[in-house]
């Protein structure tokens, strides 16, 4: 039976995408949004993190972010590459969402790996993660574009992932409940995208 665990892995993948990874994304973008209030507002709000003891912060980071994110990302890449896309034959809205969910997912693995290298790992190596650091990163127009695409991929992947979470756990069953969930999650996508993009543009 030990090799008959795919159902549980898939359900875990679905759950971790929302809790904690999805929650973390909303928290992360909201915190970044304080940059729209200027350099001091951003540095003050992110500085709160430094009040947490370093060892505790590391434990929380690994348990709440890195391990769930790694599992979700790596298992997600496996899922993405077992699909055979056919949007040219079946150009329905849901089939496009299915394909986009997988494309954004694979792109996010690359983007997030780079993002962590550029910020968190640099911090571990002694750099200061603050307004100036982000200002320098996005002063390169290519890097700014990369970040904007990354943010939009993340917000889309979360919003559409919430829709499939509701189906995968049997919460939305009927076609009309799934349609309502489509509208709600797409509004969510727009709102979180505005927060995320406004935040990154505040560093420009």
């Amino acid at each position: 039976m030990s090799n008959n665990r795919e159902f549980y892995w898939r359900r875990l993948h679905s759950l971790l995408g929302v809790i904690p990874v999805g929650l973390f994304l909303v928290f992360h973008l909201s915190l970044n949004f304080t940059a729209t209030g200027g350099e001091d507002a951003y540095n003050n709000s992110t500085g709160v993190m430094d009040l947490v003891p370093h060892s505790l912060l590391l434990i929380v980071e690994w348990i709440v972010i890195y391990i769930p994110l790694l599992f979700h990302g790596l298992y997600g890449v496996y899922i993405a590459f077992t699909a055979t896309h056919n949007v040219n034959r079946f150009g329905t809205f849901r089939n496009w969402m299915f394909a986009l969910q997988r494309f954004t997912g694979v792109f996010l693995v690359i983007f997030i790996a780079w993002h962590i290298f550029q910020t968190r790992i640099q911090k571990a190596l002694g750099a200061d993660v603050d307004f100036n650091m982000m200002e320098q990163i996005v002063s390169n127009p290519l890097m700014l574009a990369f970040y904007i695409v990354g943010i939009l991929s993340a917000t889309f992947h979360l919003a559409n992932g919430l829709w499939s979470f509701l189906v995968s756990w049997g919460i939305t069953q009927s076609p009309s409940s799934q349609k309502v969930a489509t509208y709600v999650t797409m509004i969510f996508f727009v709102l979180v995208s505005i927060i995320g993009v406004a935040a990154i543009l505040a560093f420009v």
Partner: protein, 260 residues
């Protein structure tokens, strides 16, 4: 567009993906057959069979395909027609753009030409126990009554003819993945709805909670869009998602409400 005046000179242009052996090389062949009013794809294939000559005059082998009922209830004659999987019996030539492109449903092993091997679907039906268990060593008597409205609803699910169209449409059913596919999943919901069938409903749920089971659905919802019988496949899948969510906790905590 055909510009001929009478039915005697009008023709139907077809392009067919040919394959001589299982796993063998494929090639496209063009055909042109006389038009008759009310033709379906099968009658065009029959015209090729009676005169297996390609459009450019070369003699070839007759095209192989499966068919049986000719009224869209057996599911045998499914093929990809102009890019869409559907039944060749109920697909009328008049409603198709020409040339009519015919391909086998390549999500299944191609036996020859348009003939595919749907064994994996029949194995899946056995796996999920897609039947009502009524065999006993003595007369089990009448089963519980099914509410009439429930029966009417379940009848829609029972229209599945194992034609394989949903499997061909599904991006997660392929040689790359072990996904059982939409049709057998919907049958689990059908037989778990039946009052007698529900007596082993936990066994069916456990089967689809195994590798390549229910959770491999990626919600592209192509199946429900493609199903020729209009079966609410994605509603069945979402309903099973809820049933397996409950079953998962029952298993974990050793519940004694396995068939409640």
């Amino acid at each position: 567009m055909t510009t001929a005046v009478g039915t005697t000179t009008r023709t139907v242009k077809l392009e067919i993906l040919r394959q001589d052996t299982e796993g063998g090389a494929t090639r496209w062949e063009k055909f042109e057959v006389p038009y008759r009013p009310g033709m379906n794809v099968i009658s065009a294939l029959m015209a090729i069979r009676s005169n297996p000559v390609t459009a450019d005059g070369k003699t070839t082998t007759p095209v192989t395909w499966d068919m049986n009922c000719l009224e869209e209830v057996c599911g045998a004659c499914s093929m990809v027609i102009n890019g869409r999987p559907r039944q060749s019996c109920s697909t009328l030539i008049d409603q198709l753009e020409q040339p009519v492109k015919l391909e086998p449903m390549k999500t299944f092993p191609v036996v020859r030409d348009l003939q595919v091997d749907r064994t994996r679907m029949f194995n899946a039906l056995k796996k999920v126990k897609a039947w009502v268990p009524i065999d006993g060593t003595y007369d089990l008597g009448e089963g519980p009554r099914m509410p009439e409205r429930k029966r009417q609803w379940a009848y829609e699910l029972s229209k599945c003819m194992t034609c394989g169209v949903c499997m061909e449409a599904c991006p997660n059913v392929s040689e790359k993945s072990s996904f059982i596919g939409p049709a057998p999943l919907s049958q689990v919901r059908l037989f778990n709805t039946h009052p007698t069938g529900a007596m082993v409903k936990d066994e069916r749920l456990l089967e689809i909670m195994g590798d390549g089971g229910l959770a491999n659905c990626g919600n592209s919802q192509n199946c429900v869009a493609a199903c020729p019988k209009g079966i609410p496949l994605t509603t069945s899948i979402a309903s099973l998602n809820r049933a397996t969510s409950v079953q998962m906790f029952r298993n974990f905590f050793g519940s004694d409400h396995m068939v409640d």
